[in-house]
């Protein structure tokens, strides 16, 4: 089932797709995109890689269990949600850095929230798919 063409292609596709997913995440506030779609695209990139090279190889690239991404993502989203309360504002108030960063634009708490969603989505999708594909019966 291993295809040389797919294996070679994914070697280049994986970084490109990940970059694209990150691009979707960053532009989400202004144009179509966002954390959810970005996360899905990133998961597809890994799934594609696992199809070509086997799930074990993909797990090696990830370096850790995808399950561990979930608490990180949830924590980040929750933190960006409660962060404003430390400044005496109601939770979920948008906080923004005043300086704009070239290419990305202004950075605010919404971006970190989206990043949290992104990580959770990647974690959830990969956990479900990899757990099933690694189950031997």
């Amino acid at each position: 089932m291993r295809s040389i063409i797919l294996q070679t292609a994914t070697r280049y596709l994986l970084p490109i797709l990940l970059l694209f997913s990150f691009f979707l995440l960053l532009r989400g506030h202004y144009s179509p995109g966002g954390g959810f779609v970005g996360g899905l695209v990133a998961s597809i990139a890994f799934v594609l890689h696992s199809f070509a090279n086997g799930t074990e190889a993909t797990m090696k690239i990830l370096g850790r269990k995808p399950l561990s991404l979930i608490p990180v993502g949830l924590g980040l989203a929750a933190l960006s949600m409660v962060m404003p309360t430390f400044f005496g504002l109601p939770p979920m108030t948008g906080l923004w850095f005043e300086e704009k960063i070239p290419v990305i634009g202004s950075i605010g708490s919404a971006l970190f929230f989206d990043l949290g969603v992104y990580l959770v989505v990647v974690g959830v999708v990969l956990t479900i798919l990899f757990t099933i594909s690694l189950t031997k019966d």
Binding site: Y30, L40, L74, G94, W96, V124, T127, I128
Partner: protein
């Protein structure tokens, strides 16, 4: 007062880490807990007897009217003393009775929990707090009754008791809330000022009825009485505690507590007199047919509770004083008899009165205690029971109207049977010749027979010197129930009058009945023939029906097949939608307003239909999954045409991943099986077509419904101003409705953890094999 209740609860908690200690040398600490509380409440007696009351108020949820309000008056003090005093005896006795039991510490934990709940119940001055403690007594008694949980009978009895008292609690809370709404306060001592408003309110009979059901279930009144004989499966100390002084008296306490607030009307009197009167005669007669000492005591207890309800129903000054005295009389002799039964059972292994006899020769102090208690229950002069019985006759004789004769006759009949029942349990096993089998019995340790003996001596002491308790009971307690001064003194000697004559008749006829009546299996079986009419039988039938019904329901609705759940959910949704569509009137479609078809749309629809056909017709799972994803992509294209790029993007990726997921799962499944018959396929087709049609109609209808655009306009205008974002969809997701998104991600995570743990756990268990 709060601390006395918390003291018990905290001790219960302490038993968790320290439980193994009390099993051995520390067990003497246990009786000290109720004993110290008993002394604490004893110190209140002089002040309360002089007419003072004590209150303690701590805010809990003031906005809902739920507070830790406690109040100590004559009535609650009597109960506190009974709970802690008899509790001390029971703890002391159970220490030895249960020695070596593997769940020794657990038993005392339950007992302490129960005691604290009872204390809370009688001290509460807040309706909802009272209910909380009421339920706590039900729950903790469940554990006590079902203590021998390896016996099926025991579990069943515990469940019956919990069901009946729990159901009563449900009615009670409804009644209490009604009362509180009428009176505008949850404070019990404050309700008395709204007495007129409550009694004249149109919902008064309803509130009263609910209250009565609560009290009747707890105090085992007909037709809810049957849980009490069943509860005899509990260890004897528990029966002694629950059925003499505490649990079953809670209903009596409730009625007594509400007497000044709601009592004295026809609605109050007749139900109580009828139910109480019937219960006392029914149970007293039933007691005569029993052979098990505990069963006799159970039925005489029900009868005694009937007497109390009856007296509270009578509601005259005499009746209230009689009730106050009888509460103590009954608690003392009944606890003694139960504890004696426990000793006899413990030593001989039998409770069958047709086999036991002559035990006085080996168990003399026990026989002494039993004899005194039986005489007190019979109401012999110079026992406390004599005073109690006199007061009952006095109350029935002095009723106004045409009733005295009938009521006195009912009371006489009950007392005669109670006397015979008391003799059967308290005298029969100890007299006559000693069977050979029991000759080698020895007296159990002092710690077991001391408690019943002390209680029996109290029966005698209070009878000879009624002044010790008399003033407290007839004034402080009776005043608290009656709501006004009673001015009564307890006396031993009333002179030669009707009451004395009635007492004499009771004694003579009762003793004769005891001598004539020989309970036997045959008689018991003869009574059993009527079981089909008993409330227990009917309620058992009812619960069986509930079980059958729920099994039927589960099998038809929750059968565990995903396809069946889907079918039912969709059918239900269809029914709802059709109903709603039918309500909203005719559907008009203005064809001119629809945008004209473009070539792209036509092409996509043709692809979609083709894929659909393949899904339905293909014999291969993989093909159908792939075709399904084609359908998904076609729909995504529609989103693209109608400018919803965010939606289209998400749908594309989701579709891709779903297909991957499908293929992964399919890989693990057995090869294709045709599970559905043509008939089922046809049915599914109808359901699916119906759903599609309904949704299409709704989609067309939506076009002509007036739509409020306030929300979308708000988001559109403020996305950049408030959230610095130009993509409204994303701003809604990440900012305006961020909390929703947050919880959605949590749900996703739970799903992932679920899948992970399900598969991983299954792996682990299969690895073990």
């Amino acid at each position: 007062m709060l601390f006395t209740i918390l003291f018990g609860f905290l001790s219960t908690l302490l038993l968790v880490p320290l439980g193994h200690k009390i099993k051995s040398k520390w067990s003497m600490v246990l009786p000290l807990i109720p004993a110290s509380l008993f002394l604490y409440y004893l110190a209140y007696v002089p002040a309360v007897a002089a007419g003072s009351t004590f209150s303690q108020m701590i805010d809990w949820v003031p906005s809902l009217g739920v507070n830790f309000d406690f109040r100590l008056d004559g009535l609650s003090l009597l109960f506190c003393l009974l709970i802690t005093g008899i509790g001390t005896g029971i703890f002391f006795y159970a220490r030895t009775y249960l020695k070596g039991h593997p769940y020794y510490d657990r038993f005392f934990g339950y007992l302490l929990l129960f005691m604290s709940a009872m204390l809370g119940l009688v001290l509460s001055d807040n309706l909802l707090l009272l209910f909380v403690f009421w339920e706590l007594t039900s729950i903790s008694s469940f554990f006590l009754i079902g203590f021998n949980n390896e016996q099926e009978d025991s579990r069943k009895s515990a469940l019956t008791a919990l069901t009946i008292t729990g159901m009563g609690g449900f009615f009670l809370v409804a009644g209490l809330i009604l009362i509180a709404n009428i009176a505008g306060t949850y404070q019990i001592s404050g309700l008395i000022y709204s007495r007129d408003a409550i009694i004249q309110h149109e919902l008064y009979p309803l509130a009263l009825g609910l209250l009565f059901i609560g009290a009747f279930t707890k105090s085992a009144q007909f037709p809810f009485h049957f849980w009490l004989p069943g509860a005899m499966k509990a260890p004897t100390p528990v029966s002694a505690y629950l059925h003499s002084a505490t649990m079953v008296k809670a209903g009596i306490y409730l009625l007594a507590r509400f007497f000044p607030i709601m009592g004295g009307t026809d609605y109050w009197s007749y139900p109580l007199m009828i139910v109480g009167g019937f219960t006392m005669v029914y149970a007293a007669v039933h007691a005569l047919f029993r052979m098990d000492m505990k069963a006799i005591l159970a039925y005489t207890t029900i009868a005694a509770l009937g007497v109390l309800v009856f007296l509270l129903g009578l509601g005259s000054k005499d009746a209230i004083v009689a009730a106050s005295v009888f509460i103590l009389v009954h608690a003392l002799y009944k606890a003694t008899l139960f504890l004696v039964t426990g000793i006899v059972d413990h030593e001989t292994g039998s409770r069958d009165i047709s086999r036991l006899s002559g035990l006085r020769k080996v168990l003399f102090p026990v026989a002494l205690a039993a004899g005194i208690a039986a005489l007190s229950s019979a109401g012999l002069p110079f026992t406390f029971g004599f005073i109690g019985k006199d007061l009952i006759y006095e109350a029935t004789l002095h009723t106004e109207g045409n009733w005295p004769l009938i009521l006195t006759a009912v009371a006489l009949l009950t007392n005669i049977c109670l006397l015979a029942g008391g003799f059967m349990a308290g005298i029969k096993p100890f007299f006559g010749p000693l069977p050979q089998a029991y000759e080698k019995l020895h007296l159990p340790p002092l710690s077991m027979w001391l408690t019943p003996l002390i209680l029996a001596v109290l029966c005698l002491l209070f009878g000879i010197l009624p002044g010790i308790t008399g003033d407290f009971l007839s004034k402080a307690t009776a005043n608290a129930i009656f709501g006004a001064e009673t001015h009564m003194h307890l006396k031993i000697w009333h002179g030669f009058n009707t009451v004395l004559l009635l007492s004499a008749i009771t004694l003579v006829v009762g003793t004769l009945l005891y001598l004539i009546n020989k309970p036997s299996e045959n008689k018991l079986n003869a009574v059993a023939r009527w079981n089909k009419l008993s409330p227990q039988y009917l309620i058992n039938r009812f619960t069986d029906g509930v079980f059958k019904g729920s099994t039927l329901y589960t099998n038809s609705i929750h059968n565990g097949y995903l396809r069946s759940y889907h079918l039912k959910i969709i059918l239900f949704a269809e029914a709802l939608l059709i109903y709603k569509l039918w309500l909203s009137g005719p559907i008009q479609i203005n064809w001119d307003q629809l945008t004209p078809l473009t070539i792209y749309e036509v092409a996509v629809v043709i692809i979609l239909l083709g894929a659909l056909l393949i899904v339905i017709l293909t014999p291969s799972r993989l093909t159908s999954v792939v075709s399904m994803s084609v359908i998904g992509y076609c729909i995504c294209l529609m989103f693209v045409f109608y400018s919803a790029p965010d939606l289209a993007m998400t749908q594309f990726t989701i579709d891709t991943l779903t297909t991957v997921l499908f293929v992964l799962v399919l890989y693990k499944l057995p090869s294709f099986l045709s599970l559905a018959s043509p008939k089922q396929k046809f049915r599914d087709m109808i359901v699916a077509l119906g759903f599609g049609t309904i949704l299409s109609i709704i989609a067309l209808k939506v076009l002509y419904e007036p739509v409020s655009k306030d929300t979308s306009n708000f988001y559109g205008e403020n996305a950049y101003l408030l959230a610095k974002g130009k993509n409204v969809v994303n701003v809604i997701l990440a900012d305006f409705r961020g909390i929703d998104t947050m919880f959605e991600t949590v749900v996703l995570s739970i799903a992932a953890v679920g899948v992970y743990s399900l598969l991983k756990l299954r792996l682990k268990s299969s690895e073990k094999e």
